[in-house]
């Protein structure tokens, strides 16, 4: 055991090393753009230099004269692909803006031409020599821009079902002893995964293979098939590894079908590796948000009234909305709650999922306001959370399946040394540095979706698991292998795991932190089918007793034994009794509450995610408490974070090593989202300015000092067979508020707009 591989506590699996560790550190892991292609043509995108308007004409002569150029495709000669709906409206697309369809430009950096050449270099040079004559219009690109339209999310976006409310907020707020009213803002952010948005398309007759980093191979396969007007069975998506995604590779972006169409036209594989700056505009982003929070409380800290109003930017045609009020209105006990979410339609690309899409902006607002309330009450912020802790959400009165929020605060506070904090702002310093301690709650809905798996067990104890899951750095190979090994009673090393291929049984999108819960529940179910078959071969009249259920994730061989006689199963004898050398099973698993069409939708690349606050009789969330120490230089006002501590409880932990890594990365991102990350928009042009990794600030190693991750033991038998809550998006929530709360403690200055820059501080 080591820091990287923490000792498992109760209800935690073994910290086995990653299944794909050696492949990754030796460079053997093949990412989409590494897949060998026979004689590919290289594509290079030309993207628009205006955010709104029309293309008058192209001047292509100079570009076409570059040696090696095959063709330049624009709206004038591109195949007209079929319109497909937005992913959240029953379709697949990240945006309904379809490039190369007309001369219209709807947003900055829209794809307006594709250069095809024999080499990447020739394609790039020619793309730089393409001249475009525009007829620009004035874009309205963000909040307060004249010409944007603001509409309630309810009724616009089919996935946004309610503005939660209960009781009489207005009256309760009016009568409250202590009140807080404050506004908060979060900026545009981009995922910037290391791996760019590469796509290769290869036709073999009328079969299409797509190599592309994807968080949802079934969605991509079905979406592209619809755009091309072909049978989805003819499309195969392969991506064994994804080099970071964070939501940006979850829905279908327009580039893929364009590349498929060009490959079909050329009758030759086409390979595209867009640039970093193109990644800012050809995929999605986290939209800027605004919030107003009103809290009314009694002197003892008990909330009596809460209102959360949020506004989010989206594109003109699409109503993308994250709507985090479904969480913030249910987090604390409060009898009178009101909320409203609006969408501001602007001349922008359609935003999309980005790690904890609703929780990051919405909990920033709520958890900042809670800190403001604690200050006003002269109360410790942890104690304020304690008096408002609840096992029943206030809107519908549904019970939390489990909730270890205060245990997280207590363990985290101990590890952090919260008791050393002197409560008054500006009361701690060392040398040139002001010191502040801050904390905040994090939570993330526990979500599951239908998944299918095929498992094969051989007489010699070797096994093969097939499921179209996704390795996005989350440890999918590893935890799926662990689930199978332990259910089947074979060593982890004996299991080969096959994921990242749409020819395998369908798994849901690797989003909403549902992957481990969904894929492991499906794999465990299918392993059970195998065990039942073996068992019946030896002891036809007895049923199996499932001791594996208690040992999954523990790295132990399950004692599969008869319920009556207690006789253990002898695998080799069972195979001999069956008279076969291999047993294979396929199965489809769906969570409780999943709609009737779940399995059909699953095959069509449509996810039916259930969980969180949307279940009929209960509510399921993972929780955590985050602690931040900030240091602010009295002279330069530079803000540094020497310590981050997070304590989390998320049900069964499949693998403490991969879980810790996810949680640590989350804390770092949370810090980054408070202090560094913002995509700057030049409102005159409606265009991004800092669209590269030098100017879009991400933390470097020197910015990340002590990061401590504490995982609490928690068991929840009411969520899914794996008992897993999902934690990929847990740790980067609330951190932004904890940072601002610590800055307030250090300086006495409340910052309500992210990111916090040194010029925002008046020390």
């Amino acid at each position: 055991m080591s820091i990287a591989a923490p000792e498992p506590k109760a209800n935690m699996g073994q910290p086995v090393p990653r299944y794909d560790a050696v492949a990754k550190v030796t460079g053997m892991a093949k990412y989409a753009a590494d897949m060998p292609l026979a004689n590919p043509a290289y594509a290079y995108l030309v993207t628009s230099a205006i955010a709104k308007g029309r293309i008058d004409s192209f001047e292509l002569t100079e570009a076409k004269n570059i040696r090696g150029v095959i063709d330049i495709v624009t709206h004038e000669n591109a195949e007209k692909l079929k319109d497909v709906k937005l992913f959240s409206e029953g379709g697949y697309m990240s945006t309904t803006v379809q490039p190369l369809k007309s001369s219209d430009v709807a947003h900055d950096g829209q794809i307006i031409a594709v250069v095809l050449a024999d080499t990447f270099e020739a394609a790039r040079e020619a793309a730089h020599r393409v001249k475009v004559n525009y007829r620009p219009a004035t874009p309205s690109t963000t909040f307060d821009s004249p010409g944007t339209t603001s509409v309630p999310a309810k009724g616009q976006a089919s996935r946004f079902k309610e503005d939660p409310k209960v009781g009489d907020f207005a009256k309760a707020f009016d009568e409250a002893e202590v009140k807080i009213t404050a506004s908060y803002e979060t900026p545009t952010q981009h995922h910037n995964p290391m791996e760019l948005f590469a796509t290769s398309c290869v036709w073999n007759g009328d079969n299409l293979t797509i190599y592309e980093p994807s968080q949802y191979v079934y969605g991509l396969k079905n979406g592209v098939a619809q755009q091309l007007g072909i049978d989805a069975d003819k499309v195969r998506v392969i991506n064994y590894y994804v080099g970071g995604a964070f939501g940006s590779k979850g829905s279908v972006t327009p580039r893929t079908a364009i590349m498929a169409s060009l490959a079909r036209r050329l009758n030759r594989p086409v390979k595209l590796v867009p640039t970093r700056d193109q990644g800012f505009t050809i995929a999605t982003y986290r939209a800027e948000t605004r919030h107003q929070i009103q809290i009314g409380a009694n002197r003892d800290g008990k909330l009596v009234a809460l209102r959360h109003e949020g506004a989010e930017v989206s594109s003109r045609p699409d109503a993308y909305v994250v709507g985090g009020t479904k969480t913030t209105t249910r987090l604390y006990a409060c009898p009178n709650v009101d909320s409203l979410v609006s969408i501001v339609h602007a001349d922008r690309n359609t935003p999309g999922f980005m790690r904890s899409p609703p929780e990051v902006p919405y909990l920033f607002a709520l958890e900042s306001a809670m800190d403001e309330l604690a200050v006003k009450l002269n109360m410790d912020p942890i104690e304020l959370r304690r008096v408002n802790d609840t096992m029943k959400e206030p809107i519908g009165g549904k019970p939390y399946t489990s909730r270890s929020l205060m245990a997280c605060f207590d363990e985290g506070a101990k590890a952090f040394g919260w008791s050393q904090r002197s409560a008054a702002p500006q009361s701690m310093a060392e040398g040139d540095w002001l010191i502040g301690y801050g904390c905040a709650t994090t939570c993330y809905p526990t979500q599951m979706a239908p998944a299918a798996a095929r498992v094969r067990l051989q007489r010699d104890g070797r096994a093969r698991v097939e499921i179209a899951g996704h390795e996005i750095g989350n440890g999918a190979y590893t935890v799926i292998g662990q689930a199978a090994a332990e259910k089947l009673g074979v060593p982890f090393e004996n299991v080969s795991v096959h994921i990242g291929d749409s020819d395998l049984p369908p798994a849901p999108v690797a989003g909403g932190s549902n992957s481990t819960a969904s894929t492991c529940s499906a794999v465990m179910m299918v392993c059970d089918q195998i065990r039942q078959r073996l068992f019946r071969a030896l002891m036809p009249n007895e049923s199996v007793i499932d001791k594996a259920k208690e040992t999954v994730g523990m790295g132990q061989t399950p004692v599969t034994e008869s319920a009556n006689s207690g006789r253990p199963l002898d695998r080799e004898k069972a195979f001999d009794a069956l008279g076969v050398s291999v047993v294979e099973e396929y199965g489809e698993w769906k969570p409780e509450d999943a709609p009737k069409d779940s399995f059909r939708a699953m095959q069509q690349g449509q996810v039916r995610i259930v969980g969180g606050s949307a279940m009929s009789d209960k509510i399921a969330y993972a929780f955590g408490a985050e602690f931040v120490e900030v240091r602010i230089n009295k002279w330069t006002h530079e803000i540094r974070i020497p310590r981050l501590v997070g304590a989390f409880a998320a049900g069964h932990i499949m693998n403490p090593r991969t879980a810790r890594s996810q949680l640590m990365g989350g804390l770092i991102w949370g810090m980054s989202s408070a202090l560094l990350e913002a995509t700057e928009l030049d409102p005159r042009y409606g265009r991004y300015v800092n669209d590269n990794l030098a100017d879009y600030l991400l933390p470097v190693n020197a910015d990340v000092q002590d990061v401590e991750v504490i995982m609490l033991s928690e068991q929840d038998d009411h969520i899914n067979p794996a008992g897993v809550k999902g934690l990929g998006e847990l740790a980067n929530v609330g951190t932004n508020a904890a940072v601002c709360n610590a800055i307030f403690h250090a300086t006495g200055q409340r910052i309500r707009k992210l990111p916090v820059r040194l010029e925002n501080l008046e020390v």
């Binding site: 030049d682 190693n701 020197a702």
Partner: protein, 338 residues
């Protein structure tokens, strides 16, 4: 990036000859058809972005055998232009005698870049102005003279508050240059007609009406060395920035003092991250000489250093930040143990 011819120069005269062959008469050196390649950390970037479009790239790395020495003989310092930033930063003699040089190099870029980048290339590093580096923005007088300046009323948080003009407010991004200008360094330039020496302060040109002309180098000339006379053990480089590493200065200060019996007999102050060129604050220096250091003096000097600074929408904070950075750097230099 456009296709180009790659040439490797075996010695200085071959390099000068190769560069001279492609010199067009009126182009500024940055637009010349032949460009020297040392570490490549700026040139290759700008070629990929299609900002620089040389037809010939002359690799001068073979000249390192003669142009990369670090020499501290006789009380003076001579740094070969092809010395790598990391080698100079790690040199114990430089750390002891010229902490401002060692720190300005150590706090720049990332270890990987410092291992590649050379001193000569570093002082010629071009601005990070995002409107300059992105050719899809039409208005950039530096890239396309007469086209305007998108940064004046654009997102200009990183831009300059000193030495600006109505044509250009692009910040000179480097750190090492502030140490050189503070220490009155000399630049040794090798060209067609031999070797010439100029004061480092004469190397860069403020934008004025010709922001496309960044230096006084003639096309085809190469920096071969830097020299500094005397030693400056009481010197510091202080850099304020958004990140702890791998980030350009929002404001920095190179300060060198000579203190005799508590009285400051000589003082040098240069500013980074604030100006369009390496920036020496001579008026501020004049206030210090002959004085004893105290906090009030530091604040007066800081005010004088930023005199005339002009902030804009997103960078107005730099004026006050610059003052605090100067004051703190003066304090550090005055109180450091040598």
């Amino acid at each position: 990036m456009r296709s180009f011819t790659y040439q490797r120069a075996s010695d200085p005269s071959a390099a000068i000859q190769a560069l001279a062959m492609a010199v067009a008469s009126n182009d500024p050196p940055t637009e010349a058809a032949a460009q020297p390649l040392a570490g490549g950390t700026t040139l290759i970037d700008l070629m990929k972005l299609d900002v620089m479009r040389p037809r010939t790239v002359v690799d001068i790395n073979p000249l390192a055998s003669t142009w990369s020495a670090i020499n501290l003989d006789g009380g003076n310092l001579r740094l070969g232009a092809l010395a790598r930033m990391s080698d100079v930063a790690a040199n114990p003699e430089i750390q002891r005698n010229y902490p401002v040089i060692a720190d300005s190099l150590r706090l720049a870029a990332s270890p990987q870049l410092r291992n590649m980048a050379t001193l000569g290339g570093n002082v010629l590093q071009r601005t990070r102005c995002t409107y300059f580096r992105d050719i899809s923005y039409a208005n950039c007088n530096k890239r396309d003279p007469g086209s305007g300046c998108a940064a004046l009323d654009g997102f200009n948080r990183m831009h300059a508050v000193l030495g600006t003009s109505e044509q250009c407010i692009a910040t000179y991004p480097g750190d090492f240059a502030q140490a050189l200008i503070a220490l009155d360094a000399t630049v040794e330039i090798t060209g067609k007609s031999g070797v010439r020496n100029i004061a480092f302060a004469q190397l860069h040109k403020p934008p004025g009406d010709t922001p496309q002309i960044e230096t006084t180098l003639a096309p085809g000339e190469l920096i071969s060395a830097f020299t500094v006379s005397g030693r400056w053990p009481r010197s510091v480089y202080l850099k304020a920035r958004d990140r702890q590493s791998y980030e350009f200065a929002l404001s920095s200060a190179a300060v060198a003092l000579d203190v005799q019996d508590g009285v400051i007999s000589d003082a040098r102050v240069a500013l980074g991250g604030l100006a369009t060129v390496p920036w020496r604050a001579r008026a501020a220096e004049a206030l210090i000489k002959g004085q004893k250091f105290d906090a009030a003096l530091a604040l007066r000097v800081a005010d004088a250093a930023l005199a005339g600074a002009q902030g804009r929408r997103h960078n107005a904070f730099k004026v006050d930040l610059g003052k605090r950075v100067v004051a703190r750097a003066l304090h550090r230099a005055a109180t450091m143990e040598i």
